[in-house]
């Protein structure tokens, strides 16, 4: 994916190219990044208006069309109930994307808030919160999600919340270190000196300046949230049948792996492509190519 980057930039910078041949500024983003945004745009369009992209239903099967291999009519084949696999992937994108949004939202809001308090409310609060974060980091994320899921019950939203809670610790850690960095800056002291209240300065100066790296982490977490949610779906703790969630589709297709490989392979390809795209975007948000 990153193969294209250095070549692309070198071509733009080459001085012997006449001005009219040089690419306009907006066209200078790397091909891989443009591709990543395109993939996310397609996935978003799929989840907003799935009917536009497929003539088949995501949940109702067609009679006498069980486990057809990929072909001209059903591009990615059909499953054991005669449901079109491509249609199910398209209808399933909304569960995957909204789940990832909820998970990242939970982690981002709770984590940033904890980090902000830890970084600004004094030694005691800092110690207590950061020790809690250490504990959250010591329990493997999957086990933590599982504990929360048996507390909340199975389901798409509950799985998303569980994944979000298990990412709170990393957000809190990053937010705290950023707040600690920004707090000592001259402009923050100046804002205090000119009579700003603690909350106002935090809200107006510290938070916005601490947020950029946190947002890059959010983009990165979006990809891993998709992975975690599909894992929980695969284990049977997330979406329940007949919902067309990608992880659940892979679990259902697994029973037919000997005879109908397309049922489990294609939903997985969808996960890989979307996660690759979000990781590429998060890389560009971090501002330095890897």
């Amino acid at each position: 994916m990153t193969v294209a980057d250095p070549i692309e930039t070198r071509r733009d910078l080459s001085p012997d190219r006449p001005a009219w041949l040089r690419l306009p500024r907006f066209a200078r983003i790397p091909t891989s990044l443009a591709l990543a945004w395109l993939i996310i745009a397609i996935a978003a369009a799929w989840s907003l208006a799935p009917d536009l992209f497929t003539a088949y239903s995501g949940t109702a099967g067609l009679a006498l069309q069980h486990r057809l291999p990929p072909g001209g009519v059903h591009w990615l084949g059909t499953d054991e109930l005669g449901r079109d696999v491509l249609a199910r992937i398209i209808f399933g994108s909304v569960h995957t994307l909204s789940g990832a949004f909820v998970a990242v939202g939970v982690g981002l809001v709770a984590g940033t808030l904890l980090g902000l308090i830890a970084g600004s409310a004094g030694r005691l609060a800092d110690d207590i919160i950061m020790r809690m974060v250490d504990v959250l980091l010591a329990v493997p994320a999957l086990l933590l999600s599982l504990s929360i899921i048996i507390l909340l019950g199975f389901g798409t939203i509950n799985a998303a919340i569980a994944v979000g809670v298990s990412s709170v610790a990393s957000f809190a850690r990053l937010a705290r270190s950023e707040v600690a960095r920004v707090r000592t800056a001259d402009y923050v002291e100046a804002a205090f000196g000119s009579g700003g209240s603690v909350l106002a300065v935090l809200w107006r100066h510290v938070l916005p300046n601490a947020l950029t790296p946190v947002m890059a982490l959010a983009a990165l977490q979006f990809g891993s949230a998709i992975l975690s949610i599909s894992t929980l779906g695969f284990l049977g703790y997330g979406a329940q049948p007949p919902m067309p969630e990608w992880g659940l589709m892979i679990a259902e297709g697994r029973r037919y792996i000997a005879t109908a490989w397309w049922m489990s392979i294609f939903p997985g390809v969808a996960v890989v492509i979307v996660v690759l795209a979000t990781n590429r975007i998060s890389l560009s948000l971090r501002g330095r190519p890897d």
Binding site: M1, T2, V3, T231, Y237, I257, V272, L276
Partner: protein
């Protein structure tokens, strides 16, 4: 050094105690009830009176703080309570299920380290630019693959297409090849990324140029000088990856039908068997803390500069 050690161990103990407490609270405010799940089946013919007696025999009718005190005491003496679903002591079922998981995680982390090293060396030693770029993009792909799907894809390719390995249920080392590979690939990616970045970083230092000028080959300099300097950051990541390794093992066991801790955990979640889940969570926290403590203590051995600094400070 001794003071540092005592401080670190003290911190570790506090984290473990807190992990125990958090999981205890989390699992004991559960709306579900493992005893009801197992014994409410009408075929067993148990009345409310008998269920209450069973409840008393497991000690779950006592106030929460008494249960907590009892649980922490018995945990310290290695008694993890009774699995309500299986009807055996939790420590017994953990002991029975631990060996496959240890084999899987041990071999998995070894293979992950090997893959990461191969990627790191290929990324700077390959003769062609396009090959180096391709190798460099491999970790980005590896982290984007769901573990469970990777396992299914490998079964599809190696068992059904190429017929090289038997499907699920193979005995001995042949049965471990695919699970270990499945577990190792996603784990190797962050390690490889760190190694590649560290090698790039170290390769520009003056001592590398000096070694090259003395006539050492590129590969030798990489192995003897660059790699050694790239190791400490990789080790730090390895400690953090421990949790990923356990989670990955859980999923891999499910995909390949291995009877390990993963299977135990999944059964516990399905039956809301709090005692089992708590034991697994606390044991993995112990593993995490021990591994990271080991990593921190290894650092001065790999990097003599750190050891010297500590000696000066103390």
């Amino acid at each position: 050094m001794t003071r540092y050690l005592i401080e670190r161990i003290g911190q570790a103990v506090i984290v473990l105690w807190a992990a125990f407490t958090v999981t205890f609270i989390l699992l004991h405010v559960l709306p579900g009830d493992a005893i009801l799940i197992k014994f409410q089946n009408p075929d067993l013919g148990l009345g409310p009176q008998q269920i209450a007696e069973i409840r008393a025999s497991y000690g779950v009718d006592r106030p929460l703080w008494l249960q907590y005190g009892h649980a922490i005491g018995s945990f310290l003496s290695g008694d993890f309570g009774y699995s309500i679903q299986a009807g055996v002591p939790v420590s017994e079922s953990i002991r029975a299920n631990l060996p496959p998981t240890l084999w899987l995680t041990g071999l998995g982390s070894l293979l992950a380290a090997v893959i990461a090293m191969i990627i790191a060396f290929a990324a700077s030693l390959s003769p062609f630019a396009w090959l180096r770029a391709l190798v460099r993009s491999a970790p980005a792909l590896f982290v984007s693959i769901p573990t469970f799907w990777l396992g299914i894809a490998l079964i599809q390719i190696f068992s059904f297409r190429l017929r090289l390995l038997p499907v699920i249920g193979a005995e001995g080392w042949r049965g471990l090849i695919l699970p270990v590979t499945t577990l190792a690939i996603p784990i190797s990616a962050p390690l490889a990324q760190i190694l590649v970045r560290a090698i790039d970083d170290v390769a520009t230092r003056p001592f590398v140029a000096v070694a090259r000028a003395k006539g050492a080959t590129h590969a030798w300099v990489l192995w003897r000088h660059v790699f050694r300097n790239a190791l400490p950051p990789a080790l730090t990541v390895a400690g953090v990856l421990f949790g990923e390794l356990l989670g990955g093992a859980l999923i891999t066991e499910t995909v390949f039908g291995l009877n390990g801790i993963g299977r135990l955990t999944q059964d516990a979640v399905n039956n809301q068997d709090a005692a089992v889940l708590q034991a697994v969570a606390v044991l993995s926290a112990v593993g995490f803390v021990v591994v990271n403590l080991g990593v921190d203590l290894l650092h001065p051995l790999l990097d003599p500069r750190l050891a010297r600094k500590e000696r000066v400070l103390s």
